[in-house]
Symmetry: none
Subunit: 212 residues, 4 copies
DNA sequence: CATGAATGAGCTTTCATTCAT
DNA sequence: CATGAATGAAAGCTCATTCAT
């Protein structure tokens, strides 16, 4: 979560730029990496393409990163920053679980749609790279636990099917939403946004048996 | 669909072995490919590793395949054959939708568990290779349509939530199951088989509002 | 010159076929070689292409030939046979040197035109292969000597420019004709047959200062 | 025609060196290519032999060239530069056609003799490579047209045989000279320089019927 | 810090040649 | 004699990484 840790957990310990020039170069490389990764995919992306796109010499890459994996990690950091801030639509005060679920699904699918190339890329890398699949796994568990809490709260209030295992259900329903986002916005099976949100919402509600 | 067509849809057109020795070599190569792919992943797998594992000369690879993609396609064919036959548990006569859904989910998750390395591999390749992601997309749509039919039938019988879009719902629920299979048997988030089947079943039933 | 020597002057000494089947296979190989050589050129021609074109197994090639060079030599033999026999238009009795030269040029250019692909091939191989360039060199000298005799005869009869060196002149005028044949029928610089013959004839006559 | 364009007319577009070291390496490669091509011929020349002869790593070849054809083109450029400058013996003012022809033949044959290995190489490549044979064809036509002009001028002045087709004659006489150069300096049929020049000169004069 | 040319390990691919059936 | 699959030497080519300037 701390961006300053992104680059110095590997062997030769590349620099964190201090000069203004250094900062600019590093940012240019990350921006170029995003471009190249989105265009060519992680596997096909070559480091020289990234430096070329960044308009710097190929050797300059190694001033900041040790390899493709490392710049990808830096890109992930940056994107997370981006996605966190504007995203923070405050939903404090909202207590209707249906409205909460709708808002969460809506936000998620919208963000996915907006960043579909990037999401495809992350999916791809998670399939290829141990480190990133582990990261993804951890997030899934953390997210699942948070939602499990919500579900068990509803169950305690008599507001959700008590037969469901909260954690597994949370995982499953989240998996459904994220996979549908992939299917529609990456695999391009054409389904309109409202129909998509409406259907996943209704499946959540029905599945949980939330009393309307 | 015809396995014999698996290797001759590319340019230089490699041979289909006629001699006994040829058949043995080709099979050895496919078996070795499976081994190497499962161990190293599609991207890291080297053709030389495959020939080495098969105990044949490097050049022999090209007697039967043009490249990694082609031997992977052959492997997919073989595995499909394998997975089709034992799968053929006849469910004719079964008319209870809950029993049908349970059986389908149970079979699918069991097969996924048994072949988890392979399924991880297929997932990986679908992320990397245009051709295989297209294949996968087509199957998803076909499968979705079949299940959509089942859902709309239930709706007509007054046996399922009429508000749900049958196709999108079918897609979403299937996505949920397959993704959960991945999460549990590839990403190894530890969830017991019965709990998994039970939960996804119940989500299906609740989501569709199938009268018990 | 003796065709029976064509195949047994190399190391492993391939067979001269005795059975009818053997003769047919060898002939099929040579015919196929001609086809493939003319189509792909000597360098690009692969032995497997020749056997494929001949409709025989790749291994059968080595029953009769050791390598590409050897089958090419055999092809040269065959073609020479072909070109010698029907070609033998008798010009005995003809004593007018102009008529003789015209007939020779006409015959040569016509044959070249008819077999232009083959001639291009021979030219190509002479550029690449020591053995064949040596053969070609010997022929040029022999041919030059024959024509030199004709020229010196004419000079003695006071019928040709006495200043010319007979051998060099013979070589030069023949070179001119054969090179023009190449330029027109291989390089495809478009010049009509009669204009070509007429011009080279007139250059011969003028050059030699043959009294008309 | 512009030497700086020699290397960037192909697909992946290799670099034109900026640093001193880069220039040295590229030149070393071209010099090594000349050496290897002359020694082994175009077909047998291996890229690794060129890099070895240049004393650079095999990969360095691809910094400047995409393949054998491209470095050969670069070599042709360089040699043309070389051959152009010393060649620039001004013959302005000279108006005697016999003197002009003698000078041209003399220069050509001398240059050919000096660079015989290279000329053999060019001849060889023209036989093998479409691109270079086309180049050669174009030059032959352009050169033929220029000489055709000279011949028709002479004809108009009543100074040459009016029966001759200027273009075909020009082509034929040039073909004769260049082929004789090949025969003597590549195929090594031993003819002294003065005898060679004298004979081809006289054939030109006689053929054209230039009044002495 | 930036540059960009040099490096060479590592992989792919071809195809002449062999040889068991 | 014919077959055709197997062999493996020999090239080609890429690209991450280094390092002198």
């Amino acid at each position: 979560m701390n961006p300053s840790e992104a680059t110095d957990d590997e062997r030769p310990a590349r620099i964190t730029p201090r000069s203004r020039r250094g900062i600019r170069t590093k940012q240019a490389l990350i921006a170029a990496a995003r471009e190249v990764f989105e265009r060519d995919g992680y596997v096909e992306a070559r480091i020289t393409d990234i430096t070329k796109a960044a308009g710097v010499a190929s050797g300059s890459f190694y001033t900041y990163f040790n390899d493709k994996e490392e710049i990808f990690a830096a890109l992930v950091e940056v994107v997370q920053e981006e996605m966190l801030h504007p995203h923070l639509r405050e939903r404090t005060g909202e207590s209707d679980p249906r409205a909460l679920i709708d808002a969460a699904n809506r936000d998620y699918l919208q963000a996915y749609k907006r960043n579909s190339r990037l999401m495809a890329l992350f999916e791809q890398v998670a399939q290829i790279n141990e480190k990133f699949s582990e990261l993804r796994r951890e997030r899934a568990v953390a997210f699942g636990k948070r939602n499990a809490k919500m579900i068990s709260d509803l169950q305690e209030q008599g507001n959700a099917d008590p037969e469901l295992d909260p954690f597994v259900t949370a995982l499953a329903l989240s998996a459904m939403v994220s996979r549908m986002a992939y299917i529609v916005y990456v695999a391009k099976i054409p389904i309109g946004f409202e129909k998509l949100v409406g259907t996943v919402n209704r499946i959540w509600f029905n599945a949980l048996r939330i009393d309307s």
